[in-house]
Symmetry: C2
């Protein structure tokens, strides 16, 4: 007498190493073409095509035709959240990748989680925002306070009114796999990351498929000035 949605199909999709590599590559938030994803997974385009069709049927990714390219992106930030959740379990069980490159510490410090900042600095930022009362928890979601709106406008030139989105909250807590605490997701989290990039405080690592975010010397100083660790 089973009931409820059938997990195993979705999980099986993520369970294949090739598909999993594609999905983690898409966690950068960027849309990638079928061939790029094939290379990312280390398989031929034919095989990739089959995998992509399955992922699409499973509702994990969405295609967008553009000329003779097919760009794929994760359908939803929620998908990224679940992937992060799985990473948390895998990390605890000690199932790290065999090739744990030198980039790993950098990944723990600051990385892209779909479209917002994660890792040590991401968690630090949300903590600091709460301490400064820029956000608070009201009914069911985190909310930007009046003080927070002023702060965003003055310090980061982000107009809070532009952040509303029909299907996505402005603020959302996203569980960080490396820190096991929350960082800020939602349209605000995305907008802030965008601004950091525009201001050249931070830049995504150039290695294709890397989620690492590198802060410049000046950028880190400015970032810490706004969201410094607990005094």
């Amino acid at each position: 007498m089973k009931a409820g949605p059938d997990i195993s199909r979705v999980a099986a999709l993520v369970g294949d190493p090739a598909r999993c590599n594609m999905l983690t590559a898409l966690m950068t938030g960027r849309a990638l073409t079928a061939s790029e994803l094939a290379q990312e997974a280390g398989i031929t385009p034919q095989t990739a095509s089959s995998h992509l069709a399955k992922l699409e049927a499973g509702g994990l990714i969405e295609p967008e035709k553009q000329g003779r390219h097919r760009y794929y992106r994760l359908t939803d930030p929620d998908v990224a959240d679940v992937l992060e959740g799985l990473q948390g379990i895998a990390a605890r069980a000690g199932h790290m990748r065999v090739r744990t490159g030198p980039k790993d510490p950098a990944l723990r410090r600051a990385r892209i989680c779909y479209d917002h900042l994660a890792g040590d600095l991401g968690v630090q930022m949300l903590d600091s925002m709460k301490r400064q009362k820029l956000v608070r928890q009201t009914k069911q979601a985190i909310e930007l306070t009046g003080e927070g709106k002023r702060f965003m406008a003055e310090e980061l030139q982000i107009d809070a009114n532009t952040l509303t989105h029909p299907r996505r909250p402005v603020c959302k807590a996203c569980l960080d796999w490396s820190e096991r605490r929350h960082h800020l997701a939602g349209t605000l989290g995305a907008a802030m990351m965008d601004r950091f990039t525009e201001l050249k405080w931070a830049a995504r690592d150039v290695t294709p498929g890397s989620r690492v975010v590198n802060f410049s010397r000046n950028g880190e100083r400015r970032f810490t000035a706004l969201f410094g660790a607990s005094e």
Copy 2:
């Protein structure tokens, strides 16, 4: 140049239908024996034994020997959270089980999520608790307020001091797959569900493996009196 924990192994574990059935059976929060899990998954004990060994190695379940029985439980509420998250994605993609029994509406209304209340009533409860300022979001977690502690003691005879646990927060937001909003997890969520059961306001469905929670007529009245929908 991959980095980070390897998701695919964990996901592959969940991806097998038999193992997935076992895991969802364990989402009741109860510990089940190897044979019970075998029956739940519809496979022979030998096969189940192999699956259980894999799930244990993957860190998803934990055994506990008791006489000649081996009881298995989910290692961690976090595992249950990820499973709920996967259900959310599966539900959106329309991957419901083929045999969507008559219990389905009941499951959406009230069910056990590991050890606390989920479904419509679970979401309603957390909403109401926030409205009544029994809990609030402080730094990174939901916190029980002074008012909340009084409420718990007076209305439900729950001593807030007994709720602290070395590895588990008192309050935690858990994403509900059917409502797509949060309900209350953590030791408080578990304690409240226990109390509801003790007071005979609600009881888990007798069907083995069912996550449905049935509220008595009186129980629902009392529950609504405390955590009624928004007035």
